[in-house]
Subunit: 439 residues, 2 copies
């Protein structure tokens, strides 16, 4: 009976798995370089967990299920609620700032599209309990540090930063009442994806006053943090929000990644929970979805029954990232294939006079090499030396050991370097002693 895989999921055959491992290894190394510690939670949580942060509309985007007691659960669509739950559970014993990362498998019951699947992996970085703009900068630095480590340059990707606090302050100054902010955020967040006239029309619906709408547009077009006061007039709140954002940009300069970063008031982030600096990373060409996004959020732990504790974080999915890395030629099919230190071949002309058959000698030596911590394989196939060398090359081995007549007669092995083709006869025991040292 043939059953297909579930729509919107991926099968990771060894070549795809190698790419996935390459991505997650890079995420892990970048996180550890910046002093983040890894955590993880269960694949599912109580369904309510996701309603707290994202409201009831999230439910239809979840894969929900019930446990045996009939309780409603959902496969995690994001890990931030789990993070909030875990931190709240141990709030009194965890040293602050809490600097954690995770690379969870997540599922969303959305329509599959380019760069958006029903099942994906997401790198999450969070710093909890540290109000300094330095923490925002550190999250962004670690993000850039990863992107740079896989070969992306400031010509390929840009971190676009703004601030929710600044936006709220500017919109307040130019006359938008607080209760209209949330729908306006949602519209401004969509601006880059909408045709100009459609955005203008939708803005006119929400903001009928032409003068106010013009000021909003002027703000969205700003490229320098310094120009804000001239546009909206300054007050203490706006000045502080502006200073905070300038400080983050200043720290990013100190950290040597200024060329990746720019102020972009068009960055709003749809989610209600951001309260301060927000950012997204986009490819410079701008024809892909955001590679990642994040920002400061001050109320999440409290929403989950914990204390009011400020936090800042980032999430990067694997799908858009992989598309970009392939487009840039940084990941190629078959690039991360199988790799062995040794392929151990035996040739049939070597007779069994010594009391052991050649295959048995190959198995014995292979096991011995593995015991020394190196990667090795023997062949399951019969066949002459030509076939075995072909198999050795296909296995991704660096060297092929040929067990031939020299073993019973002289206790020697032929070791062939498969890159250079050079071959040398080595003493069996000396060979084993040599790989011992490499361990």
């Amino acid at each position: 009976m043939k059953i297909p895989p579930v729509k919107g999921t991926r099968d990771f055959y060894p070549p795809e798995m190698a790419v996935r491992n390459r991505i997650t290894d890079g995420w892990r190394q970048a996180s550890l370089r910046s002093g983040f510690e890894e955590y993880d939670g269960p694949i599912f949580e109580h369904l309510q967990m996701y309603q707290i942060k994202s409201g009831d509309e999230i439910v239809e985007q979840l894969f929900s299920l019930q446990d045996r007691g009939g309780r409603d659960l959902a496969i995690r669509p994001e890990i931030t609620p789990t993070l909030a739950r875990m931190v709240n559970q141990r709030i009194n014993t965890l040293a602050r700032p809490i600097k954690w990362f995770s690379m969870p498998r997540l599922c969303r019951a959305e329509r599959p599209q380019k760069g958006r699947l029903r099942e994906f992996f997401q790198w999450n970085l969070d710093i909890i309990g540290e109000p300094s703009p330095l923490a925002d900068a550190e999250v962004i630095f670690a993000t850039v540090d990863y992107l740079r480590s896989v070969g992306l340059t400031a010509n390929d990707v840009k971190v676009r930063l703004s601030s929710r606090r600044l936006l709220a302050s500017v919109l307040g100054r130019i006359g938008i009442p607080p209760d209209q902010l949330q729908p306006l955020y949602a519209l401004l967040d969509k601006k880059p994806k909408l045709p100009g006239e459609v955005f203008a029309e939708m803005l006119a619906q929400q903001v009928p006053d032409v003068g106010v709408a013009r000021k909003i547009n002027a703000f969205m077009d700003l490229r320098e943090v310094g120009g804000i006061a001239a546009l909206a007039g300054a007050d203490a709140e706006l000045e502080q929000a502006q200073a905070e954002l300038a400080q983050v940009l200043g720290y990013l300069t100190t950290m040597g990644v200024a060329e990746f970063c720019l102020f972009d008031p068009g960055i709003v982030r749809g989610l209600a929970y951001y309260t301060g600096v927000v950012f997204e990373v986009h490819d410079a060409v701008g024809d892909l979805r955001a590679i990642c996004g994040g920002g400061r959020y001050d109320n999440l732990l409290a929403d989950f029954g914990g204390p009011q504790l400020t936090a800042t974080g980032m999430g990067m999915g694997d799908c858009v990232l992989e598309i970009l890395l392939r487009e840039k030629g940084l990941f190629k099919d078959g690039q991360f294939g199988k790799a062995l230190d040794y392929f151990v071949a035996c040739v049939p002309r070597f007779a069994t006079e010594a009391g052991r058959c050649p295959q048995e000698e190959a198995v014995r030596l292979t096991a011995e090499i593995r015991r020394h911590g190196l990667r090795a394989e023997f062949s399951y196939k019969a066949g002459g030396l030509g076939k075995k060398l072909k198999e050795a090359a296909d296995s991704g081995a660096a060297r092929c050991i040929i067990i031939g007549d020299e073993l019973p007669t002289q206790q020697k092995l032929a070791v062939k370097d498969l890159a250079t083709g050079q071959q040398e006869l080595v003493d069996y025991e000396a060979f084993l002693a040599g790989i011992s040292c490499k361990k």
Copy 2:
């Protein structure tokens, strides 16, 4: 609002995550040493997938859900059905033998017990398309190679081997009809967990003939493969099954792991799908559940709509393994803590005359060290050198760099080795050039 985690799941705080990573890293390295390649599938499959191999009774042990189209899905309770599906999908292009491993997250809606949780990780090794007993031996070797690599010895764990084919043949020879084999397997599999008299009673129900029951008991007590023929009388099928098992044991001797392995006819494995050699690894004391189990299965690919292709494999969960490793003192709490190469401290007495504040210098240097591929952190806290050195020690750093007066006056840094306490003044640029080389 405070919501608890789902019962039977685990939260992996950094210390627990470090243990989990240590386990999965070890699994991966042992797999790669033996030439297995990693694969993975989706977290869920169509529900039917699990009914094919395990029948309808599996359904109540599954976490089942529906996709938006109303199709029945289930979170994977094992990965073998996914493996069969994936191999069948590419059966014509995959080179054989297929030697794959995986370390999937799995979920079962069972009652949580010691060593048995609702969510766990399982190392899977499979060799598909190779009928030689050498393949069974290689799966067992890789399993032992892992256990040995984490410090377990032949005094701690034993691989107990038998053969389904041999058992079927013996039971047939002593008069059990083929249609009674499956329920008898299930009973024999439970023998070690049942009190003697309960087993005797249950056996008497299934096998009323006292002479036949006595022969079954005598077979179960055998410890040498050679004694079978004397007990059940030989025929070609029994001789072949016996030779196969002896060959596996012979290869394990060649591979140097004989001291870990023994014949145990009590190893049956409950699952219907095994057809040849079967094995389990137990702790020598025997008070834990099996650490892992596996064997040869010949019909699975065909059951999933593919060709008749022989296979042999192994599955090892993380829960029992971790209990054993902790009991043996091989894993200790806090053993795998955070580790940094450098903690960068600045002291407030260093004035800002040079135009830069000490904290900014610490941030700059930290970012520079990270860019060179090493792990580094600065402090978010104010405070004197004593506090900073304490923070450096708590961070798991190997060395602490102290930015003090020597930086503005001499362009020098103090580097303190936190293990030895030794401190030296080094030139800023020379330091950076030095860590460059280590990369």
